[in-house]
C-alpha cells in the first residue's frame, strides 16, 4: 500500500487554549461537535434508529397479524432469503441491470460529452434536452413508458413502418418472416413485439432507466472533460493522434474517477431500484422484472405481508449496498498514482 511507506509528517503541536480542567475537557471534545450535534441527533434518530429497528424486526417471525410477535427467532428470515429463488432472481436482475445501464451510460455519456465539447451548433439546447429526463419524476413518466412499449404503441408502430412487424387478421403484431427467422437463429425465438413479457420486460426497465439517467452521466463526463489539461490534449494532437485516439487514449483514462463514481451510483441505484419496475411492470410478468426493491415491497405490503422477512431483505440490501460501495472505493484508492509519495519525499 502506498500509504504504508509514507513517513508521517512532523505535525505542529496543537496549541492549548488554556490550562487546567477546562483545557482537558476541550481536548476530549472534538472541535465543532456542538455545532453538528443537532444534525447528528436527527441523523442517528431518524436514519440509524430505523436501520437498527429494521434489524430487530428482521429476527422476529412477524407475519403481519397483530399483535407483533416479539419472540426472536434468530436468522431464519435471512436463511429463507438465501433459499428463495426469487431473492437470487432479483439479484441476478440487479446485476444485469447494473452492467447494462452502466456500460450504456458510460459510452453514451462520454459520446454526448465529447460532442458537446466540440462546440456543436445549438449545444446548450442539446444539453438541456439530454438532461431533462433526469429531472422528470418516474411516476410521471411511467404511464408514458407503458404506452411507448404497448403492443399498439409507438415502438411497434415504428417497427411496423420499417417493415419489421405486421398486423395479423386477428389484430396481433408479429414479426415479419425474416425477422422471425433471424430471432430464432439468434436463440431469441420467444421474443415477440409484446415488450412487457418475461423475455423482454427486464430490458424495458433497463431501457427506461438509461433514458432517464443518461443526462446525469453526460453532466458528470462533461464536467470531467472540462478539467482535463488542454495542453495534454494538444500534445497528443501534435503527436498525430486523431479525435477518436485522443478520446480513447487521453480523455477516458483521465476520467477514471468519474467512471468510478458513476459505477458506484449505478450500483446503488440498481440495488435499490423500485419506481420504474413497480410502476411499469409491477415486477412481472411472472417476476421477470423483479428487483430487490419490488420484492421487499411485495413482501411488506403485497400478497403475504411478511414483515420480518421484508426487514431481513432490507438489511441484506443495506449490506450489499455498503459492501459494493466499500469495495469500489477501496479498489479505486489502491489504484491511485504514486506522485503523491514522490512529492512528499522530495
Amino acid at each position: 500500500m502506498a500509504t504504508s511507506v509514507t513517513a508521517a509528517p512532523n505535525k505542529p503541536p496543537i496549541p492549548r487554549r488554556d490550562g487546567g480542567a477546562s483545557g482537558r475537557r476541550h481536548q476530549r471534545t472534538p472541535a465543532g461537535l456542538r455545532w453538528i450535534l443537532p444534525a447528528f441527533v436527527v441523523c442517528v434518530g431518524l436514519i440509524y434508529f430505523c436501520i437498527g429497528y429494521s434489524g430487530y424486526i428482521s429476527v422476529l417471525p412477524w407475519n403481519w397479524r397483530p399483535p407483533r410477535q416479539e419472540t426472536v427467532e434468530g436468522f431464519d428470515s435471512y436463511l429463507r432469503a438465501f433459499h428463495s429463488p426469487l431473492f437470487w432472481t432479483s439479484l441476478e436482475h440487479t446485476l444485469v441491470f447494473f452492467l447494462a445501464a452502466f456500460v450504456v451510460q458510460c459510452v453514451m455519456g462520454i459520446i454526448f460529452a465529447a460532442l458537446l465539447h466540440s462546440r456543436v451548433y445549438g449545444g446548450t439546447i442539446f444539453k438541456v434536452l439530454i438532461f431533462v429526463p433526469v429531472v422528470i419524476a418516474p411516476a410521471i413518466m411511467a404511464p408514458v413508458h407503458r404506452r411507448v412499449f404497448a403492443v399498439d404503441g409507438p415502438i411497434n408502430w415504428i417497427l411496423q413502418q420499417l417493415g419489421l412487424i405486421h398486423v395479423t387478421d386477428l389484430g396481433n403484431r408479429v414479426w415479419t418472416e425474416w425477422v422471425s427467422w433471424l430471432l430464432i437463429h439468434l436463440g431469441m425465438g420467444n421474443v415477440t413485439p409484446n415488450w412487457i413479457q418475461p423475455s423482454t420486460s427486464l430490458w424495458v426497465i433497463i431501457a427506461v432507466q438509461i433514458w432517464s439517467s443518461i443526462g446525469m452521466a453526460f453532466i458528470l463526463f462533461y464536467a470531467a472533460m472540462g478539467q482535463i489539461d488542454p495542453d495534454l490534449l494538444e500534445a497528443a494532437r501534435i503527436d498525430g493522434a486523431g479525435n477518436i485516439r485522443v478520446l480513447v487514449s487521453m480523455v477516458v483514462p483521465n476520467m477514471k474517477p468519474t467512471i468510478l463514481a458513476l459505477a458506484i451510483l449505478n450500483a446503488i441505484t440498481a440495488l435499490k431500484l423500485f419506481d420504474f419496475p413497480y410502476l411499469i411492470t409491477a415486477g412481472g410478468p411472472a417476476h421477470s422484472s423483479e428487483f430487490l426493491g419490488t420484492y421487499i415491497y411485495a413482501e411488506l405490503f403485497g400478497v403475504s405481508r411478511h414483515y420480518g422477512y421484508a426487514a431481513a431483505l432490507s438489511i441484506l440490501l443495506l449490506v450489499l449496498a455498503l459492501g459494493v460501495s466499500i469495495v469500489m472505493s477501496v479498489t479505486a484508492r489502491e489504484r491511485r498514482p504514486v506522485p503523491d509519495i514522490k512529492g512528499r519525499r522530495g
Binding site: V151, I196, P285
Partner: protein, 462 residues
C-alpha cells in the same frame, strides 16, 4: 372486491341517483329497521371513514342521506386506491392513527378480514341493539358469517358481489351481427373473428398486475371443466397440478392463439387499461363482476367514458352475458360470490357511538340499504331491498332492466364463494400462472400447474 375509483363518474352517478333516491325514498314510511333521528341524536361529532370502495361521490351521497336523520354527526370519507389501502391501513394501525370506520371484505388482498379484522370491534352487540335478536337473519344468508373472524363480527355487510360472467357492449354486438349469447367456445371464436374484421378488440383483459382479476377467467374455465374442482383445490382436497388446471391453462393459451384474448393482455392491467378499452368501445367484452353495473346508467357511463379518454362520449348499452362453456363439457360456469365488503369500527375509534350510528343506518336500515341498492354497485345486504330500476337512468331500460334483475337475483342466490377461501399465496400463485400461460411459452402447462401447486396454501373449510 377490487375496482378503480372514478370520482368524476360517481359524481355524475351520485347526482342522478340522488334524484332517483329522492324520488323513491321520499314517500317511504319509517319501517321497522329504520334508525330514528332520535337514535342518531344520541351521538354527535365527526367520524372518519376510510375505504377503497365505494367511489367518493357515492359515499358522499350515503353520508348526505345519513346526515338528514343524524344532523349532529359528520362523516368524513377518504377513498384509497386498492394498492394504497393496505400500506395506509397497516401504517395507521401500527401508529394508532387509524380511522373510526374502515372497509373490510370477506377475503382478498386489499381489505380481507384476515388482514384487518383484528383491529375491529365486535359488532354483534351493536347489531343486536339496533336490529333486535334476529338481526343476523335480516341479512342475506352467509354475509355476516363471511365477515366474522374467530366469532367476532368484524364488519356489518353493506352488500354482496358476484363474478364469473362477462359484460358485453350490446351496440358493438348488434352492429357486427354477433348474438348476445355466446354459449360455446366456438361461438366465442366466431364472434371474435367478426370483431377482428371490424377492427374491434374482442375480449380485453389485463394481467400485468398483482391483483387477482386475471384469475377470474382461469377459474371460470376451470368451472367449465369441473364445477367442483376449484373449491376442492382451495380446501386442499384436490391438487393445483391436477389435469383440470393444466387443461385450463391450455384453453387460455388457445384463446390467445385464436385471437380471443388480446395480445396486450400481458402488458396491461385490468384497471385502468382493460376497463378503458371496454368503456371507450375499443373492446366488446370484458370480464367484471356485479360492481360493473354501476357504469350502466347514462350519467355514470358518460363520465366513465370521458375518464377512459373519449372526448365526446355517447353512452352504449352494456349488459351481462353468462360465461360460454369453454371446455365443451356441458358445464356452464356458475356465478361465484359472497359479501363484498362491510364497515368495521376501529377498536380504538375516537368516536365509536357516532360510528355505530352510521354503520347501523347504512347496513341495517332500509333507507340506508336503498341508497346502496340504487348505486347498483352491490347486491343489497339487507333482505327485501332492491334497486329502484325504473329510476336509475339506464341507457336502454327495456333491455337492461330485465337483464339486471336476473343478474342481481342470480348474484343473491350464489352458492360458491369468490375470495373467501383464497389465501394470499394461492391468489398470487394463480396470478403468476395466468401471466406465464399468456406470456411465457417456454413453460408447459404442466410446469405452470406444478409451480402453482408448490406456491399455494390451502384454507380449511369453515
Amino acid at each position: 372486491m377490487i375496482r378503480i375509483m372514478r370520482p368524476a363518474i360517481a359524481l355524475m352517478a351520485a347526482t342522478s341517483m340522488a334524484m332517483a333516491v329522492a324520488a323513491c325514498s321520499g314517500g317511504n314510511d319509517q319501517n321497522e329497521n329504520s334508525t330514528s333521528p332520535s337514535a342518531g341524536a344520541k351521538a354527535s361529532g365527526t367520524v372518519v371513514w376510510w375505504g377503497w370502495t365505494p367511489d367518493t361521490p357515492v359515499a358522499q351521497r350515503y353520508i348526505a342521506e345519513f346526515k338528514k336523520v343524524n344532523p349532529n354527526i359528520t362523516v368524513k370519507y377518504t377513498n384509497y386506491e386498492n394498492a394504497d389501502y393496505a400500506p395506509t391501513m397497516s401504517t395507521a394501525f401500527q401508529t394508532g392513527a387509524g380511522p373510526d370506520i374502515f372497509d373490510v371484505s370477506a377475503g382478498g388482498n386489499v381489505g380481507g378480514k384476515q388482514l384487518w379484522g383484528d383491529y375491529a370491534m365486535d359488532l354483534a352487540p351493536v347489531a343486536k341493539a339496533a336490529l333486535g335478536d334476529g338481526w343476523k337473519d335480516q341479512f342475506a344468508p352467509g354475509y355476516v358469517d363471511q365477515l366474522t373472524v374467530e366469532d367476532k363480527v368484524a364488519a356489518l355487510p353493506l352488500g354482496g358481489v358476484a363474478a364469473g360472467f362477462f359484460w358485453i357492449n350490446k351496440n358493438l354486438f348488434d352492429a357486427n351481427g354477433v348474438p348476445t349469447e355466446l354459449k360455446t367456445y366456438d361461438d366465442l371464436k366466431a364472434a371474435c373473428d367478426k370483431f377482428a374484421k371490424a377492427k374491434v378488440q374482442c375480449f380485453t383483459m389485463g394481467t400485468n398486475s398483482t391483483d387477482t382479476f386475471s384469475t377470474e377467467l382461469l377459474r371460470t374455465i376451470m368451472n367449465s371443466i369441473d364445477p367442483t374442482y376449484y373449491l376442492r383445490a382451495l380446501h386442499g382436497k384436490a391438487s393445483w397440478d391436477d389435469p383440470v388446471f393444466t387443461q385450463s391453462i391450455d384453453i387460455m393459451r388457445r384463446m390467445q392463439q385464436d385471437g380471443i384474448i388480446g395480445q396486450d393482455a400481458t402488458s396491461i392491467k385490468q384497471y385502468p387499461e382493460a376497463n378503458n378499452n371496454f368503456l371507450s368501445q375499443k373492446a366488446a367484452i370484458v370480464q367484471m363482476g356485479t360492481w360493473y353495473a354501476q357504469y350502466a346508467a347514462k350519467a355514470s357511463m358518460t363520465a366513465s367514458m370521458q375518464g377512459a379518454g373519449v372526448s365526446s362520449p355517447k353512452p352504449f348499452t352494456m349488459i351481462p352475458m353468462a360465461s360460454p362453456n369453454f371446455a365443451g363439457k356441458g358445464n356452464v360456469p356458475q356465478f361465484v360470490g359472497e359479501a363484498d365488503y362491510g364497515l368495521a369500527i376501529n377498536e380504538k375509534a375516537k368516536n365509536p357511538e357516532a360510528a355505530k350510528a352510521f354503520i347501523t343506518w347504512l347496513a341495517g336500515t332500509k333507507e340506508g340499504q336503498q341508497n346502496v341498492a340504487n348505486a347498483i354497485d352491490l347486491v343489497p345486504a339487507l333482505k327485501g331491498v332492491q334497486a329502484d330500476w325504473n329510476n336509475l337512468g339506464l341507457v336502454s331500460p327495456d333491455v337492461q332492466i330485465p337483464a339486471f334483475r336476473k343478474l342481481f337475483a342470480d348474484a343473491a342466490a350464489v352458492q360458491e364463494s369468490r375470495n373467501l377461501y383464497i389465501s394470499a399465496e394461492t391468489g398470487n400463485a394463480q396470478v403468476i400462472a395466468v401471466q406465464q400461460a399468456l406470456a411465457d411459452k417456454s413453460k408447459s402447462s404442466a410446469e405452470i400447474a406444478k409451480q402453482a401447486e408448490a406456491a399455494s396454501v390451502d384454507v380449511p373449510e369453515e
